[in-house]
């Protein structure tokens, strides 16, 4: 379980627990309750937010 | 396309070209003075002997509407009408323009009035990025000059020398056939 009210706190906690993730999480898109953000650093999170981390994909 | 190149090297042009080389008295690589008619206007320009008509039009004459897509005669973006014939300017030597009559995209409109092809291309949204559009309009004009009522198949095969990567050709063909159906071409 991870307690975080903001995406940057969440990522920081993840890297603390899994240091090997540091490189991958530098460039990550974050889905919060179905909406996928490229620039997610300060997006707030609710206790019941459904969060997924994705490779950042934009297109061509 | 290489076969067409041979067709465009007329005896007259080659003859005068070599005359000038012999009589210029300077290095072979000096520029040649060309007199031609472009879009109804008498026009003069200087060009290298080996330069393409495409490069001469875009640089020496300053008509940048004719585009360079490949320089091998495969994309049609450089389509112009030379002495009544549709040609890829990238495969014509600039000296070939000596004494010739040229129509480029800049000469298609009639003063303030767009040519019906230009108007229909706009109405049908027959362009997206627009880079191929000058070549298509010149090529389509040559088609309708030769065949005022082409079938869809004839239109597609005539325009097969013009590449478009954006539209899939659907709206382009519709625009050209719409002009043909209206029967009003110049």
């Amino acid at each position: 379980m991870i307690d975080a009210s903001r995406v940057d706190d969440l990522l920081k906690t993840l890297v603390e627990r899994f240091p090997g993730l540091a490189g991958e999480l530098e460039q990550v898109a974050v889905a919060i309750d179905g909406q996928i953000f490229h620039h997610a650093r300060y997006q707030s999170l609710r206790p019941d937010s459904d969060v997924h981390l994705l490779p950042p994909v934009a297109g061509g | 396309m290489s076969v067409s190149l041979r067709m465009y090297l007329s005896n007259h042009a080659i003859g005068s070209f070599f005359d000038r080389l012999r009589t210029s008295g300077t290095e072979v690589m000096s520029k040649i003075h060309i007199e031609t008619t472009i879009n109804g206007e008498p026009t003069e320009f200087l060009c290298e002997p080996h330069e393409s008509l495409l490069t001469a039009l875009r640089n020496a004459v300053g008509l940048t509407g004719t585009k360079e897509g490949c320089t091998t005669g495969d994309c049609g973006a450089c389509s112009v009408i030379l002495n009544g014939r549709l040609v890829p300017a990238c495969l014509v030597l600039a000296p070939e323009a000596q004494g010739a009559t040229l129509t480029t995209i800049e000469g298609i409109a009639d003063g303030e009035r767009l040519h019906p092809l230009q108007q229909k291309f706009l109405e049908h949204a027959a362009l997206q990025c627009g880079i191929c559009t000058p070549g298509f309009i010149v090529a389509a004009k040559a088609l309708l000059d030769a065949n005022p009522n082409p079938s869809e198949e004839e239109t597609r095969y005539w325009l097969a020398g013009n590449l478009c990567r954006c539209t899939g050709y659907d709206k382009i063909i519709r625009a050209v056939m719409d002009v043909a159906a209206a029967g009003s071409t110049k």
Binding site: E26, Q27, A31, D33, Q35, I36, F37, H38, H39, D50, H52, L53, L54, P55, V57, A58, G59, G60 | T64, G65, T66, K67, E68, G69, C70, T72, C75, A77, T104, I105, E106, I108, L114, Q118, F121, L122, H124, A125, L127, Q128, C129, G130, I131, P134, E153, T155, R156, Y157, L159, A160, L163, C164, R165, C166, T167, G168, Y169, D170, K171, I173
Partner: protein, 762 residues
């Protein structure tokens, strides 16, 4: 908003007359006085160590003003965020611009020359003496990942730069419960975006260190930031002016020329123009990955999909970074599958570094999965659209990449396909019909917009997004809709990087959605200011002023609403009074949008195959797609038709042909065979609109999805026409003929002696 006055109409685009008269200025159409011309010397070898470079002969040539090599690019190991796929490593980008230690592909830039004419520059480049130690090239995935393969980069064992896994449930167990399992291995070639306009730029740097770059690009801010980062310059000193762009499709997001032109301009104190030849575009820009993909699906007899396993290997080219991850994320998106395993590998090979190409990664992956789904349908004798409908995702289902789908239109698209007259039309001999789905995310990200109001009530709208396919007229429609002024009275502009607020690239199907939303919000800002001006004139509060159809309406009726005799002021009235009511009105907005909500499509193709020559003809094609909301339907249809054509070319004829030395043999439009007008029929389009709740009008984005379905659609049609499942693209005549011959031979060999005798007699 459901009743639109302008959205959904088809006005003539504002830049249209310039484009049909040849006046529109593209990258190569721009010149400056005193300009020099740049040319690049490129590696003839696919893989070689650069032992030495001697530029002295080039520098001594009359007309040559400067020569640069890799050592002129400062070493850099930082990452640069381009706002898209995995951050571009600056070190890789700098090395790609001009090689340092190794030439990693045929065409890799080694040196650049600035001279007074193009011919002199090219001639001088040939005088540069490069000593190479030729190395064994890695020319394909199988060779690259085999044990003992030559390594392009020390860091990547087996040339695998990255691996990603996506899983759900337990696929291997679930396969055991399936009634039918189909597994196939697919191959797709490296292909190019094929934009007709080669890359071109002019750069000028002054004695004050300020640079201006005119260039054809999908992302002027990317050009600015990339040049600044690579050259170690302050981005504030670089202004980028985007020309009209002659196609991009993702291939004009990365920079290939601009930093070199700036460097040459700095060395010569003159403007420098650089234009690529078509040969260079093929060899030395960013095509998309060739791939190897294994796909396995398991289903119950009633058509329920129970398991899927997909393994993807994508060529990254000379440096890491292919869209394998995106392919992994896309390939199972249309279906509710409780158990799956997907692995994606990024493989470096001695080919040009791949760049984005319209829905990067998705077409190849969905070629594989949609072909297998088709075979599942055949084995179960279920209609291929019915099978897809049975398993189709809808709102609330979980996407393979994690989050739940919001409102999506897959079922509506499949229903429209099923009910389309094309699907019921009879087929002639040697014809087959194929159906397949496609998906793309549709990007959001950051955009800005500014709107200025003129005293006559007309408006101008500025964004930093180059217009590749009609986005300016779409923006004008949005401003017209919001302000209630005629669309002809709105002038849309693409502004340079000093004049426009930051905007992310034109690409990712995002301009109409994200930048469009910025335009709409900026227009609403103008509207709010206009209401405030009306309030001032009417001596009331702004909340007593409403807005209806292009006019401010007084709400000072007895019940607080606009009555029949309410006072009104039009945009023109208010604009004329701007100097007295508070000064000029400028509207602005900046947005940071999440992804739009995915787009789904289904295409139907009737293909006729000549069994004697292997030649295929597309006799009928229909593209059906959920676009959310079509702002200008003609240009939405155009995106669907254009994307379908690129996909058809990818399926039938396009491929990079490399020889054993890793040198491309067909670097021109004659032999890199893209569809021409005589190859295609009219392409029918059906626009489905399932509103995207993240956008005021429901816009979802349209540009990329259309290239995804055609690969499998055509291959499925080929299966129908010939009875043969082809798994390797392109389905060019020699390959089809060989496949048909092999099928006939194996069918013959598998037949009993009586049948064989009968076949031999006939």
């Amino acid at each position: 908003m459901t009743d639109f006055a302008y959205i959904g109409t088809r006005p003539i685009r504002h830049d249209g007359v310039d484009k049909v008269t040849g006046r529109a200025a593209y990258g190569a159409d721009f010149s400056l006085p005193g300009m020099l011309h740049g040319a690049i010397l490129r590696s003839p070898h696919a893989h070689a160590r650069i032992v030495s470079i001697d530029t002295s002969a080039a520098e001594a040539m009359p007309g040559v003003k400067a020569v640069i090599t890799g050592k002129d690019i400062p070493p850099n190991s930082a990452k640069l965020v381009l706002g898209g796929e995995a951050a571009l490593d600056l070190h890789d980008m700098g090395d790609n611009l001009l090689a340092h230690d190794k030439a990693l592909y045929n065409g890799h830039a080694i040196a650049a020359v600035a001279a007074t004419t193009v011919d002199d520059a090219r001639e001088a480049a040939e005088l540069i003496r490069v000593e190479y130690e030729v190395l064994t090239p890695v020319t394909g995935i199988d060779q690259a990942i085999a044990p003992g393969a030559p390594r392009l980069h020390q860091a990547f064992a087996n040339n695998i730069a990255h691996r990603m896994e996506l899983k759900r449930g337990d696929a291997e167990s679930a396969f055991k419960d399936a009634d039918v399992v189909v597994e196939r291995e697919f191959r797709t070639p490296m292909v190019h975006q094929g934009y007709i306009e080669p890359h071109a730029c002019v750069a000028r740097i002054g004695q004050d260190g300020r640079a201006i770059v005119w260039c054809s690009t999908q992302g002027p801010f990317v050009v600015r930031d990339a040049c600044a980062a690579i050259l170690g310059m302050d981005a504030a000193l670089i202004k980028v002016i985007a020309s009209e762009i002659g196609g991009g499709f993702g291939g004009k997001i990365v920079v290939y020329l601009e930093p070199l032109a700036i460097l040459l301009s700095k060395k010569t104190n003159r403007p420098v123009k650089m234009v690529m030849s078509r040969d260079e575009v093929f060899r030395a820009t960013g095509p998309t990955s060739g791939t190897k993909i294994r796909a396995r699906f398991g289903a119950k007899r009633d058509g329920t999909l129970v398991a899927a396993s997909v393994s993807l290997w994508y060529e990254a080219g000379a440096y890491r970074g292919s869209p394998a991850g995106a392919g992994a994320m896309c390939c199972l998106t249309p279906y509710r599958i409780p158990n799956f395993f997907i692995e994606a590998h990024d493989v470096v090979v001695n080919k040009p570094k791949v760049a984005a190409y319209r829905a990067p990664g998705s077409p190849m992956a969905m070629f594989a999965t949609e072909s297998v789904v088709d075979d599942i349908a055949r084995q179960l004798d279920i209609d291929p659209i019915e099978l897809r409908l049975k398993n189709a995702v809808s709102e609330g289902d979980q996407a393979p990449y994690g989050p739940k789908y919001g409102p999506i239109g897959l079922k509506q698209v499949l229903d429209a396909a099923k009910n389309h007259p094309h699907y019921q039309a009879p087929l002639a001999a040697n014809q087959g019909r194929g159906v397949a789905c496609g998906f793309w995310f549709n990007a959001g990200m950051n955009s800005s917009a500014t709107i200025t109001l003129n005293p006559d009530g007309s408006a101008a709208v500025f964004t930093g997004n180059p217009d590749i396919g009609g986005t300016r007229v779409a923006q004008a429609l949005m401003v017209a809709e919001e302000l209630g002024i005629p669309v002809e009275r709105v002038r849309p502009h693409v502004a340079d990087t000093d004049s426009a607020g930051h905007t992310d690239v034109t690409g990712g199907s995002r301009v109409c959605y994200a930048t469009g939303n910025a335009v709409i919000q900026a227009a609403r800002d103008v509207r709010d200011q206009l209401r405030a001006r009306a309030a001032k004139i009417w001596k009331t509060d702004v909340d007593r002023v409403g807005w209806e159809a292009g006019r401010a309406v007084s709400l000072d009726g007895a019940d607080g609403s606009a009555g029949r005799d309410s006072k009104t002021l039009t945009v023109s009235d208010l604009a004329a009074q701007m100097p007295h009511t508070g000064g000029p009105i400028v509207g602005r907005a900046a947005v940071s949008m999440p992804m739009a909500g995915p787009g789904f499509a289904a295409h139907i193709c009737d293909l006729e195959v000549d069994p004697e020559t292997g030649r295929s003809t597309v006799v009928r094609y229909t593209a059906i797609q959920d676009v959310g909301k079509a702002v200008h339907p003609s240009y939405v249809e155009g995106q669907m038709q254009g994307g379908a054509s690129q996909g058809i070319g990818w399926a039938l004829n396009e491929e990079y042909v490399f020889n054993a030395d890793g040198v491309m043999e067909n670097a021109g439009f004659l032999d890199y065979r893209m569809p021409v007008a005589s190859d295609l029929p009219m392409i029918d389009t059906v626009i489905v609109e399932v509103a995207n709740p993240l956008h005021p009008y429901g816009v979802r984005g349209v540009g990329e999805v259309p290239i995804v379905p055609p690969l499998a659609t055509v291959a499925n049609a080929m299966r129908g026409a010939t009875g043969v499942r082809f798994t390797e693209l392109p389905l060019s005549p020699p390959r089809v003929l060989q496949g048909l011959t092999e099928w006939r031979q194996s069918t013959f060999q598998a037949a009993g002696p009586t049948t064989q005798a009968a076949l031999t007699r006939s």
